[in-house]
């Protein structure tokens, strides 16, 4: 048990580190985007979340929170993929500058964090079945300006979920226990609702 607990602590610490790095990279990406589009720092975007996963519910236990977080991050990656694809189609100059490189870094970091979260889920429940596909296709605006605002929202979303990951993992540190056998779980729906 001590060994498993120790291993679990290592995974959590590693995941926290990745989440912190993602949050840092995201803030850089947001700054680069604002600079590229001459947006002010208080540019107004819609308040509503693009990822509809509720993580703050008190009824969720550790494992559920991990699942929710995992689902949210998977949706974030799908959003990043779509944003990058649309930007390349409509808004790209063909050059690869600092912004394009940072964008790729954030996308890769999200993938890495998803993998770390999956590890944590596995460490708690070795029988968990984890997939990383999103159910439905991401929809985004067609008008260019709206598209830019939407891309910005995507980055803000990733930033939000990076912070949520940090707080979730840190809370998990104190709550690590002997993993119990759980029934198999399939991947979360794109809307992020838990199926019990």
């Amino acid at each position: 048990m001590a060994l498993r607990r120790s291993r679990g602590m290592t995974i959590v610490s590693s995941a926290v580190s990745v989440a912190e790095q993602l949050q840092h990279d995201c803030s850089i990406l947001l700054e680069l985007f604002r600079k590229k589009e001459s947006f002010s720092s208080d540019v107004t975007v819609a308040d509503s979340r693009l990822v509809s996963v509720q993580l703050s519910s008190s009824r969720l236990d550790c494992q559920d929170k991990l699942w929710c977080l995992y689902s949210a991050l998977v949706q974030c990656r799908a959003l990043m993929d779509k944003a990058i694809s649309r930007e390349e189609e409509e808004l790209s100059s063909g050059q690869t500058g600092e912004y394009e490189k940072q964008r790729k870094v954030v996308k890769d970091r999200v993938s890495f964090l998803i993998a770390k979260t999956g590890e944590m889920i596995k460490s708690q429940d070795s029988s968990a079945l984890i997939t990383s596909s999103v159910g439905s296709e991401v929809v985004c605006p067609t008008a260019l300006f709206e598209l830019k605002l939407w891309v910005y929202r995507v980055y803000k979303e990733v930033d939000y979920w990076a912070k949520m990951a940090i707080s979730t993992f840190q809370a998990l540190r104190g709550n690590l226990s002997v993993p119990t056998r759980r029934s198999r779980r399939s991947n979360m729906s794109s809307r992020g609702e838990l199926r019990r």
Partner: protein
């Protein structure tokens, strides 16, 4: 009626047209069913006319007035010819303001001859405010230099703050209010958006909305040029003009899309025949299109494919055949010119060949046992267009052969004749050299041939040849393919001339430049050889007969080394020495302590510094003389000589001090080779003794002379110096001998008196008295003192000179000062 009107209002649509008629009883050709719509940002007005209007004979004119927000902004007359009067007509107009931003109304009335009908009005309303800021137009492409108007529809209850176009803050612009919730921004778009679009941003309090605008140019591509590679397709190139950001120009060659092909290049399948024709490219973007035309006969613009399937055959020591094939059959019928690039590892050699359908070449004059690589490119000989790409390289190695003949020379060393030859380089050896065969024959005994084998890489052999005979020496090199042609050299005594005067030569630029007088006997030219005086290695250079000068460079040349250069005349027989020189490629300062066995020798006040002869090996510069410095505490004495063969220098009249003697050699590099020796000078003992002896002998001789003179002249001297004193005539009591006491001073110094003729009698008193002359006890200072004085003076003179005390020789009455 009221209810009917109410129903009509209730059922009106947002984009429905409202048609109002001002006057009843309008002509039959007045517009009917007028409809306004927004088509690609243009205001499109369509209306119908009564079928009876088609019978009109004259043209029908429609007067149109466009109103934006009920303000007339445009007026126009639209004429329809009688034969074009149909059942419906349309008219479009590009508004300065996006159609979404304000209501656009169009009033139309017809005029036939001088009769005008009533106005018919249609309205296209603008968009109503929504919950979010709306900006129009969205994602529109503008042409650089145009004036664009953007509008911002602010939500109800919000206050408009600002509106701007990013990246165009410095451009002339104007803000205006269209209505109480719509604002317009007009900007002159003076420059393009190249790497990104421009954002139109509208802010109303905390809300923000916007749209994107792209500014660019219509296509401006130029310089279309087409060619063919295979007579089955055409390939065109052009210079691409500026592209619109996110809206690249599309191209159509021969009315076929070039989509997916690289920028500035397009290929299409088409059979190419003889004769000129137009090759047309259309470039199109959202702002317009252009047409580029190249008129050409493409059979004269053949850009060939590279030769394929390169092969090598018939490889010998010096020849090879290179062949290839053509992938396009028509090439076999063309008059071709091909370049063959041959690379031998260091240089590229270009060879050109021409022929119809050329497919192979034979390369001659290759180096045996050598690696080459070759590649080929071709083009049409007639109507040359451009070279094809290079073929793939093909490598081959020629077969070996016997070595080239050696370059042989000779050098005399220690009464031996050294036969030397230059090692063959790789391109001369044609294979691995095994050994060398040296044969030499006394011409007087031609049947007797001596032979010796020298194993490679040794490239010299010393022969003991008689200086009185003539020899012919032959050397051949042998490799696995055989022996080279023999190289021969005649050896005879006339090759050397010990009496030949050696002149001086100065090096230039790391070598030697020398020239000599032409000689008619130089049938095979001249040979210049050189070697260092400190070594035996000899190098040489053979110069053709037409040259009488040579510049010698050698990687073995070293600064500070003296070289002997000789020029020989190459004849049918032995080479003849023409001239000899010696010099340095570059002189160097001679290191210190050059003088060996430096020693000094003192002769009185002269010091001679001498050294051993300096060998030529130690001389890193020509010595013109020597200089000696004599340094004591306060002075420096300099002594020089301009004799380079000197081995000593003498400094004269030095004082008996300690000196530091330094010797330098005088060279063009200045005084160098400093060597030092210290010496303390002192009076020499031998000299001192000699001086004393000489002084004594001199004094003795002088005294002897004086004595002889005095002896001979004693009487005279006595008479002069000591004349006899007359005896007094005494009477009476003066005759008593008792009353006379002879005076003889007791303490008188022995004086030199001449020898008496009789022995003196000793008196009882112990006084010596002369019988003839009575010396009384009375002092006769006048007589004695002068005598003594003279003697003393003599003695003092002597002692002054010699510092020697007087010595009595004997007691017989004869006293001689010594």
């Amino acid at each position: 009626m009221t209810r009917l009107l109410t129903v009509m209002v209730l059922f009106s649509q947002v984009f429905a047209t409202r048609v109002t008629a001002d006057k009843p009883g309008a002509p039959q050709c007045e517009p009917q069913n007028m409809l306004l719509s927004n088509v690609s940002r243009e205001l499109l007005v369509t209306w119908e006319v009564h079928a009876s209007c088609a019978s009109l004979r004259d043209q029908l004119i429609y007067e149109l007035v466009v109103l934006v927000e009920d303000k007339p902004v445009h007026q126009e007359e639209f004429a329809v010819m009688a034969d074009h009067i149909g059942s419906s007509h349309s008219w479009s107009w590009m508004s300065f303001l996006p159609l979404e931003c304000a209501s656009h109304s169009v009033q139309i009335r017809s005029r036939y001859t001088n009769q005008t009908g009533p106005w018919t009005t249609g309205t296209l309303p603008g968009l109503e405010p929504s919950a979010e800021i709306q900006v129009y137009p969205q994602d529109h492409v503008f042409e650089v230099g145009s004036r664009a108007t953007f509008c911002c529809i602010v939500p109800l209850g919000k206050t408009f703050s600002t509106m701007f176009l990013s990246n165009y803050r410095d451009a002339p612009s104007n803000m205006s209010m269209v209505n109480n919730h719509t604002y317009a921004l007009t900007v002159d778009l003076l420059w393009p958006t190249l790497v990104s679009d421009a954002d139109v941003k509208c802010k109303a309090q905390m809300d923000e909305g916007g749209s994107c605008a792209i500014v660019g140019y219509p296509p401006s591509d130029t310089d279309l040029q087409c060619e063919t590679r295979d007579f089955q397709s055409v390939q065109c190139f052009w210079t691409v003009g500026p592209q619109i950001f996110s809206d690249p120009t599309t191209y159509w060659l021969l009315e076929k899309s070039c989509n997916g092909q690289p920028k500035g290049k397009c290929s299409q399948k088409v059979k190419v025949n003889n004769g000129e024709r137009n090759w047309t490219l259309i470039a199109r973007n959202v702002l317009g299109s252009i047409e580029l035309v190249d008129e050409a006969d493409l059979t004269k613009r053949v850009y060939m494919y590279a030769p394929a399937h390169m092969t090598v055959s018939a490889v010998s020591a010096r020849n090879v055949t290179i062949a290839w094939t053509w992938t396009v059959q028509q090439y076999n019928l063309l008059n071709l010119t091909c370049q063959i690039n041959l690379y031998d590892g260091t240089t590229n050699i270009q060879i050109e060949m021409c022929d119809i359908g050329l497919q192979s070449v034979v390369l001659n004059g290759l180096i045996p046992n050598w690696s080459y690589s070759a590649k080929v490119q071709c083009a049409t000989e007639t109507d040359f267009w451009k070279w094809s790409e290079w073929s793939k390289s093909i490598s081959f190695h020629t077969k070996g052969d016997i070595p080239d003949a050696l370059d042989v020379w000779m050098h005399n060393v220690n009464h031996q004749t050294l036969i030397i030859w230059k090692l063959l380089e790789d391109h001369q050896s044609h294979g691995h050299i095994i050994d060398y065969e040296v044969t030499w024959t006394d011409l007087a005994k031609a049947e007797q041939e001596n032979k010796i084998c020298v194993v490679h890489p040794t490239h010299s052999i010393a022969l003991n040849l008689s200086t009185f005979q003539k020899y012919i020496v032959k050397v051949t090199a042998r490799n696995t393919y055989g022996s080279s042609d023999p190289s021969q050299i005649f050896i005879s005594s006339q090759s050397q001339d010990p009496e030949m005067i050696t002149s001086r030569i100065n090096g230039t630029g790391g070598g030697f430049s020398l020239s000599w007088a032409a000689n008619v006997t130089a049938s095979c030219g001249y040979i210049v050889d050189w070697y260092p005086v400190s070594g035996n290695s000899s190098e040489w250079l053979k110069v053709p007969p037409s040259n009488t000068s040579a510049t010698i460079y050698s990687k073995n040349f070293k600064d500070g080394v003296r070289y002997i250069l000789s020029v020989y005349i190459c004849t049918e027989e032995a080479p003849v020495l023409l001239e000899k020189r010696e010099g340095y490629v570059k002189e160097q300062r001679i290191p210190d302590n050059m003088f060996n066995n430096l020693r000094w020798q003192q002769h009185a006040s002269d010091v001679t510094i001498s050294w051993d002869q300096i060998s030529l090996k130690e001389q890193s510069a020509h010595i013109y003389g020597y200089v000696l410095y004599c340094i004591d505490e306060s002075t420096v004495l300099r002594v020089t000589t301009d004799d380079p063969e000197a081995t000593s220098l003498t400094a004269a009249k030095l004082k008996m001090y300690s000196y530091t003697f330094t010797v330098h050699a005088l060279t063009s590099e200045g005084e160098c080779g400093l060597t030092t020796i210290n010496a303390n000078l002192s009076i020499q003992t031998d000299d001192l003794v000699s001086a004393i002896i000489i002084s004594l002998v001199t004094a003795f001789t002088l005294v002897l002379l004086i004595t002889v003179v005095c002896y001979r002249s004693w009487a005279c001297i006595k008479q002069k110096i000591y004349p006899p004193i007359p005896e007094p005539v005494l009477t009476g009591k003066w005759l008593s001998p008792k009353g006379v006491v002879p005076y003889c001073p007791k303490e008188e110094l022995p004086v030199a008196v001449p020898k008496l003729h009789s022995l003196p009698r000793m008196s009882n008193d112990g006084y010596i008295c002369q019988r003839d002359q009575l010396i009384t006890s009375t002092k006769i200072p006048e007589l004695d003192l002068p005598l003594k004085k003279n003697i003393l003076q003599t003695s003092s003179l002597t002692s002054t000179r010699l510092n020697i005390p007087s010595v009595w020789v004997g007691n017989s009455g004869e006293y001689y000062p010594v």
